[in-house]
């Protein structure tokens, strides 16, 4: 029996990528000059755990690189080096390189060794340079807040010089659970790291080691009692065991001075602080002298646990014990499930909804004494089904922050390259969206944000001249709006230049020279394929493969995109997206014996036509007047070639539906049947793409209904009428 460590690779990669994301976020939050210690600790922890994990799995390149990185971060952490802009750039590059390395290893591709070694060289150079210029070394006082280890040396030297000479002595009881090895943890690695922190004295407990024949080589039977002497904080010890969290029982306590010192306390130490006290009557006081050694350490570690003060020692030990399992318990609050499993579940629920609808329809036709009971049961079933469906859908929901989180870095890099000052504002990051929608919204958003930075926000001097703050603002916002999600990208830049857009469109022959367009219509031009007004093409944007693709992507998601702009004040793009791609709120309409579903998001209103409102245009079909506009009438029975109940407009109904950019049509149908949520079945996957149809669904009676794609239908019709 051998352990295949590769089975843990996926978890390692996933965790590492997540950790890198948080490292990047922390790096971006880091203030040059006055960095937050906690952020530096977060960054350090990521590097440290990736180093540990890669070493365990034998990814030596990554381990070696992260080691250099860790060394540099350690210098930052100790305050020996300061965060500079150059360093923050270097660290961000390191995040990229680590990501690339992990991805390469994950996909079994070669690592870009040159890039890695170049950056590693830079990292090491920075460390060396620091050592060459001792003036940059911060005074030890600056380290105090989060550096209990070093701070303790400074603190203790004052009240009592005698005990300060003895470094803190930590007793660590490390009892791995049997599965420690199987989780990819190696105690040896931990001991090695502990030995780097200070003087390590290791005692093994082989009491649990079974006879050779009964030994399971993959099970850990050993335990250790360790004594670590050195100016080390409890946090840094815990960090060594970070990867074994939940796989071991860990107790850490400070035993300073060692019990022997307490038995025969040195009179000098006592008189130095408490001239009245005697060592015999006040053992606690003696113990208290070294307490300043851990002023910043967690409370559990402050107690100088030792034999004469058992009351204090017990909570310390139990607190340490209670400490370890907590993260494990927090971990079990969530599980990783593959998307396929959820999709499968979703699919089954969809089938159930159909079955339930079928039963309800059957039940409604039954008569007799039991029919009433059946109907009550069916009503209950329907309620439960809806709840189940909603629950399953919620499982697929993720906060939009998943997408937003990539922007701080991107904005920072772009701003630097373009020499602009940009402030990024993110709001509504917790708004939840279906995972599929979320995955597809990323690229369009990136494009919009790039556009804002490249074209929208002006150069600092232009801004100041216009009386605006030198730094421009790009604002990303997400919120729920009437059963949909609205994502807005806005900036306080120059806004869209209507005249330039119009001139460009005329130049390209997209607009008739004599046509007068409204503002909205002008903005619409931006979405035409091949349209770009950028004066000079940068590698960021301006190649004209932009907004049309953005719009197509949004359309594919069943969403809408809208542009608003005010010259000199900025522009705003509003994307409206459905919560999910699996279910659509639809209005079912009847045409002859067929039922069609019109998505509610496309419907403006439904009405009965009066013949007075209908006109016939030669060559362009029928139109009807709707709020001052003339809209074309689309007879659905003609489009789909079915036999309708009526062909007389006054006898049927017209559904006013909206496609792209406020293009509206009137869909002529026999009747409206009802509104319902329908589960979308892909037509393409089961049959083939049909223009004007976005999918199909199965109705309660088992029949299939097509879901109309109104924008697609309008497109086809306009092509047809233009031809």
């Amino acid at each position: 029996m051998t352990i295949d460590l590769t089975q843990f690779h996926d978890a390692f990669f996933e965790e590492s990528f997540e950790a890198l994301d948080s490292m990047e976020a922390a790096l971006l939050k880091l203030d040059i000059g006055a960095p937050d210690k906690e952020l530096i600790n977060t960054i350090f922890r990521v590097a440290h755990s990736i180093k540990g994990g890669s070493a365990t799995f034998g990814f030596s390149d990554i381990a070696s690189f992260t080691h250099s990185l860790e060394t540099l971060l350690d210098e930052l952490r100790s305050g020996a080096m300061q965060v500079t802009l150059a360093m923050s750039d270097l660290l961000l590059k390191s995040v990229d390189v680590m990501r690339a390395m992990l991805r390469a290893v994950q996909q079994k591709q070669p690592i870009d060794a040159q890039r890695v070694s170049d950056l590693q060289f830079d990292l090491e150079l920075m460390i060396v340079q620091k050592n060459a210029t001792p003036t940059t070394v911060a005074p030890p006082a600056a380290e105090e807040p989060t550096q209990p280890a070093t701070a303790s040396a400074a603190a203790t030297s004052e009240p009592a010089t005698e005990p300060a000479q003895e470094p803190p002595r930590w007793e660590i009881s490390f009892r791995p659970y049997p599965e420690l090895f199987a989780r990819g943890n190696d105690p040896l690695r931990m001991m090695r790291e502990l030995a780097e922190l200070g003087q390590l004295d290791s005692t093994v407990d082989v009491g649990g080691l079974p006879p050779f024949a009964e030994l399971n080589p993959q099970t850990c039977h050993l335990a250790w009692n360790l004594v670590l002497s050195g100016h080390v904080s409890e946090a840094s010890i815990r960090q060594v065991f970070e990867w074994a969290e939940g796989d071991c029982e860990l107790r850490i306590r400070l035993t300073n001075p060692p019990p022997t010192a307490l038995v025969t306390p040195e009179p000098k130490a006592v008189t130095a602080t408490e001239p009245e006290a005697t060592a015999a009557t006040e053992p606690a006081q003696v113990a208290a002298i070294p307490t300043p050694t851990a002023p910043a350490a967690p409370p559990a570690a402050v107690v100088p646990a030792s034999a004469p003060v058992p009351v204090a020692a017990v909570p310390a030990a139990s607190a340490a014990k209670a400490d370890a399992p907590i993260p494990a318990a927090a971990d079990s609050g969530s599980i990783r499930v593959s998307v396929e499993k959820i999709d499968e579940l979703m699919n089954t629920v969809g089938e159930l909804v159909i079955t339930q609808a079928m039963l309800s329809q059957l039940g409604s036709k039954l008569e007799g004494p039991t029919a009433e009971k059946l109907r009550a049961g069916l009503a209950q079933l329907e309620r439960n089904m809806r709840e189940l469906q909603e629950s399953v859908m919620r499982v697929r929901m993720l906060p939009i922050n998943v997408v937003f989180s990539r922007f701080p870095r991107m904005v920072r890099d772009l701003a630097q390259r373009l020499g602009k000052q940009i402030e990024l504002k993110l709001t509504g990051e917790q708004t939840e969206l279906d995972k599929t929608v979320l995955e597809k919204i990323g690229d369009p958003l990136v494009h919009l944000v790039r556009n804002s930075i490249d074209h929208g926000i002006e150069a600092p001097q232009v801004r100041t001249a216009a009386g605006k703050p030198a730094a421009g603002t790009v604002h990303l916002d997400a919120c729920h709006r009437g059963g949909n999600i609205a994502v807005e990208v806005s900036d306080d830049g120059g806004g869209l230049d209507k005249n330039r857009i119009l001139a460009k469109a005329r130049e390209r022959g997209l607009v008739n020279p004599n046509d007068v367009l409204t503002d909205e219509q002008i903005y619409e031009l931006i979405f035409l394929p091949g349209f770009s007004t950028a004066e000079k093409t940068t590698d960021l944007s301006g190649r004209g493969v932009g907004m049309d693709v953005v719009r197509r992507n949004i359309k594919e998601l069943g969403g809408k995109i809208e542009l608003r702009s005010e010259a000199g004040k900025g522009s705003k793009t509003i994307i409206t997206l459905p919560l999910t791609l699996a279910i659509v709120d639809g209005q079912s309409v009847a045409v002859g014996s067929e039922t069609y579903i019109v998505p509610l998001i496309s419907i403006v209103e439904s009405m009965q036509l009066k013949s007075a409102n209908v006109s016939r245009l030669s060559g362009r079909g029928e139109v009807f007047s709707f709020r001052g506009y003339y809209l074309p009438i689309v007879r659905l029975y003609e489009v789909f070639g079915v036999q309708p109940r009526t062909k007389v407009l006054e006898e049927g109904l017209v559904v006013v539906a909206e496609g792209e950019g406020h293009q509206r049509v009137g869909l002529f149908v026999d009747d409206l049947l009802g509104q319902q949520q329908v589960v979308i079945k892909s037509l393409e996957a089961n049959y083939g793409h049909v223009e004007g149809v976005s999918g199909a669904t199965i109705l309660g009676d088992g029949s299939v209904a097509l879901i109309l794609d109104v924008p697609g239908m309008i497109r086809t019709l306009s092509v047809r009428s233009a031809a």
Binding site: M1, T2, I3, D4, L5, G58, F181, D186, P187, L188, R189, M191, R192, A195, L200, S202, T203, V204, V206, L209, P210, P211, F212, A213, L215, P217, Q218, C220, H221, L222, W224
Partner: protein
Amino acid sequence: MKKRKKASPSASRRARGGPVSGPSKEPSTLRLPAECTVSGAAALKEQLAGLIDDPLSVTLDITSLQRIDTAALQVITAFVRERAGQGRPLEWHGSQPVLTTAAQLLGLTSLLKLPA
């Protein structure tokens, strides 16, 4: 004794099939592979199991050893302890700082009866 080629990551797997043990009437020698880690711990145990009751002296040859982890050391510790308990001799051949350091860090030096 033949020199082994430089260890490769798959050395532990290759070594699985080939314990260098002498005929049963002569003192046996087991050469530990270059990589003695958790993934090869079961194979190592199998090899050691063949030697556990050997009344003659058993030699553990560590000249090729390049990497060892706790899981492998645990197997060896159990082996050494059991042999010692039965009063059967065991010897180490070669010296490897890798092993010495690892044993020291894990507090196993005396249990493993490593030469000082």
